[in-house]
Symmetry: C2
Subunit: 218 residues, 2 copies
């Protein structure tokens, strides 16, 4: 693992390690997608639906951050996808050291797409902590349409913004236009993908976006 000479000179030890791991993954042909969201917004669900929908086209694996004291088996294991759970020991984000250790437990030669599920939080992450290829933020209707204004940093740096739990729309006073406006105040370009992991509505557009970004759509 040797990070590009251009950035080598100016990085902190943490950022240097992140660059090293990122370069290694790129050399292996593995694309990383980092998913950040509040607790309960649907990170694991979206990963499961992604595996169900794209499992025949992509070889996937997952790394899941957890704060749980006794994590049981991951729901992802039922989908026969290589999965590593990482207890961050109280730290509120995954770092490159944890990522590197997790990689040792994965069949790297057989992976196209590595889904990295962050600890549930919308607070800031340290800059360039993982140097992932794609950043996705998931929020959900119960969190309110002003969530992007109240927790701007993850939204500002996202490549795509997923709005989950669309099936709850009839039961919540959620103003989609206000949500879009709140997103656009911090992020001018990232697509906003509205969906429901529960009903499957909108999942096709999410999968299409993902495949397109992976440059696999013809």
């Amino acid at each position: 693992m040797t990070p590009s000479a251009q950035i080598e000179r100016t990085l902190s030890p943490e950022a240097f390690l992140a660059a090293e791991v990122s370069d290694f993954l790129q050399a292996m042909g593995i694309v990383t997608v980092h998913l950040q969201a509040s607790p309960g917004a649907g990170k694991t669900c979206l990963i499961m639906r992604t595996i169900e929908n794209l499992g025949s086209q992509l070889r996937m694996a997952a790394i899941q951050g957890t704060l749980s004291r006794q994590p049981g088996p991951s729901p992802l294991e039922a989908l026969d996808v290589p999965t590593v759970r990482v207890n961050t020991r109280g730290q509120s984000y995954l770092d490159a050291g944890m990522l590197r250790e997790s990689l040792e437990q994965l069949p790297l030669a057989d992976i196209d797409l590595l889904l990295i599920e962050e600890i549930g939080t919308l607070t800031c992450l340290p800059e360039h902590v993982l140097r992932e290829k794609l950043r996705v933020v998931i929020t959900s209707l119960p969190e309110g349409e002003d969530c992007p204004s109240r927790y701007p940093e993850p939204f500002a740096h996202a490549d795509a913004i997923v709005l989950n739990k669309l099936d709850l729309l009839p039961h919540l006073g959620f103003d989609r236009r206000r949500f879009h406006q709140a997103v656009r105040q911090v992020n001018a370009n990232a697509p906003i993908l509205e969906l429901s992991c529960r009903t499957g509505e909108g999942l096709e557009a999410w999968c299409h976006w993902l495949m397109e970004r992976l440059e696999l759509v013809v």
Copy 2:
């Protein structure tokens, strides 16, 4: 402000400041309640309902942590309650220094109860960061019944656990018994208060608990 000599010797500068602020508030007769929850779980709503329900019996004020780049007026201002918003500048929790600065903007002689709204997160807070009198964790039905297992630390240290958005029960597959079990695995004693800030259901029990803990219930 002079913290008790007993703890003075062993504390870090941060913990020393927290003890100092805590002692000062106690001397002023002000009780602090610290509310921690995920984004959108209902911290601000619960504070509003508390003010509406107990405003005639208690003189209240609020400090609200925010990560918002341009926070508009707080919804609490409409309730004519002294409120200070604190931008933590990316830090994912309020610290004693921020609390001390906020106090300078509040009419301390006219406050019985100070409600401190944390940044929206269920990740660990540094130990004794605020030395508040009461800690309350709010979670909500959309976050799932296993939330206390996945984010155990706030639940483990809470004096009360509020389960909000009870009005969504008919629309979500939420198992209350599993939720209670998950809470009890990390916290044996704290009361679990189920309520809906939207409909008002369960608010009476919350207010009763709060008044009782404030030793104001006859």
